[in-house]
Amino acid sequence: MKTEEYISSGILEAYALGELSPTERAEVERNLVQYPELKQELLLIEEAQEKLLQKSAVQPKASVKENLFKKIDEKKPDGKVVSMPVGDSQISFWKYAAAASVAIALVTSYLAYNYYGKWRSTENNLNDLVAQNQQMARDYNTVNQRLDKIETDIKVIDNPAFSRVVMKGTQNAPDAMAYVYWNENSKEVYLSIQSMKTLAQENQYQLWAIVDGKPVDGGVFDANVAGLLKMKDLSGAAAFAVTIESRGGKATPSLETMQVIGNVVKG
């Protein structure tokens, strides 16, 4: 055994403090016998401990010592039993007292039981109410978040700086339709899906802007989104279109999959 490691783990301090489990103690005691350097170290620890407590001593009152030695002297066992003389009148008094206390005990235990039941049902009711309250708080939060979303959407739709571009279905999807709200100055682009079918898991829709005759990526989206969807900022768009691409989008559009397209109407 490496005694330095053993010592530096602090196990001897714990031993001197009386903190170890019986098995740990037994192990330390075995090691103390086997390794004299451990014994030496323990002694130093014990001395430091003793000094620390000497310095912090608080003298107890003299009466504590007196009582202690009285107790020790008393311990010599000589069990004398002193019988109590009891008169007749005292007996009948104690009889009534006993009867009265039994009656009181019965009444109080009934009351205790009764109130315990009431307390339990009150506590159950309270727990139900707390649970309901939490549910309501959650619902309220959800509604609140939806309201916030609708309010921001309305601000966009209502803002004259945004122009609406209607994208209509191509031959690929005659019934499809989506709107783009585009602010030419701030370059912000929002998309609103009117009618677009749900795609397979590995595919996503991708928005494109036609800028100087070339398609520019406007971001990808899925069909099942309610309200306005913030897309990438774009400027100089002459038209917007949506294609179907593999999930995550591509650098150039697969034009043969085009779903909807619409020109920007200047005005």
Binding site: L12, A14, L17, L53, V58, P60
Partner: protein
């Protein structure tokens, strides 16, 4: 000395009391706030020493260490029996530890200045461990749990603290 105690020699026991009751009461009275209760525990400690002296084995450590272990166990047991049930133990101990601090470490004068002098040589971490283990009635595992310190760290901190204390007590 030990053999005289084992032979139930009362004058040896008195010598023991006169020499060590102060050191042990220093622990008890800091862990237990109420003076009467602390005195009662000290009395129990010495009664136990008197009755159980046959269990003491000098090969396993110093007599003082054995007495200290008895003392800490009784004192900690007492705080548990008193505090549990009223409020959570943690809070209970915290509360009365604070009162003890005020009483013992600021108001009590000379002997507590002695402790402070010794402990000022320690780092904050070391002081914390020594105070809680020796004067606030914490066991190592309680200290680890309550203050989120790994038990191994508590042990090595106490080790470093005791090492530091050795050189300090040599000087004083």
């Amino acid at each position: 000395m030990v053999s005289r105690l084992k032979a139930r020699d009362k004058s040896a026991f008195e010598y023991l009391y006169d020499h060590y009751s102060g050191s042990l009461f220093g622990v008890v009275s800091r862990v237990i706030q109420k003076e009467e209760v602390a005195e009662e525990v000290l009395q129990d400690v010495f009664l136990k020493i008197w009755n159980k002296i046959d269990n003491y084995d000098p090969a396993k450590g110093k007599l003082f260490t054995w007495m200290l272990n008895l003392t800490r166990n009784l004192a900690i047991d007492k705080t548990r029996s008193k505090e549990i049930g009223k409020e959570g133990k943690t809070k209970g101990i915290d509360n009365f530890v604070n009162t003890i601090d005020r009483r013992e470490f600021t108001e009590q004068g000379i002997d507590s200045i002695g402790v402070k002098d010794i402990l000022t040589g320690l780092s904050e971490d070391q002081k914390f461990v020594v105070e809680h283990l020796y004067f606030k009635g914490y066991s190592q595992s309680e200290l680890a749990e309550e203050f989120n310190i790994p038990l191994g760290t508590v042990k090595t901190r106490l080790r470093l603290a005791m090492k530091q204390l050795r050189s300090i007590v040599k000087v004083i």
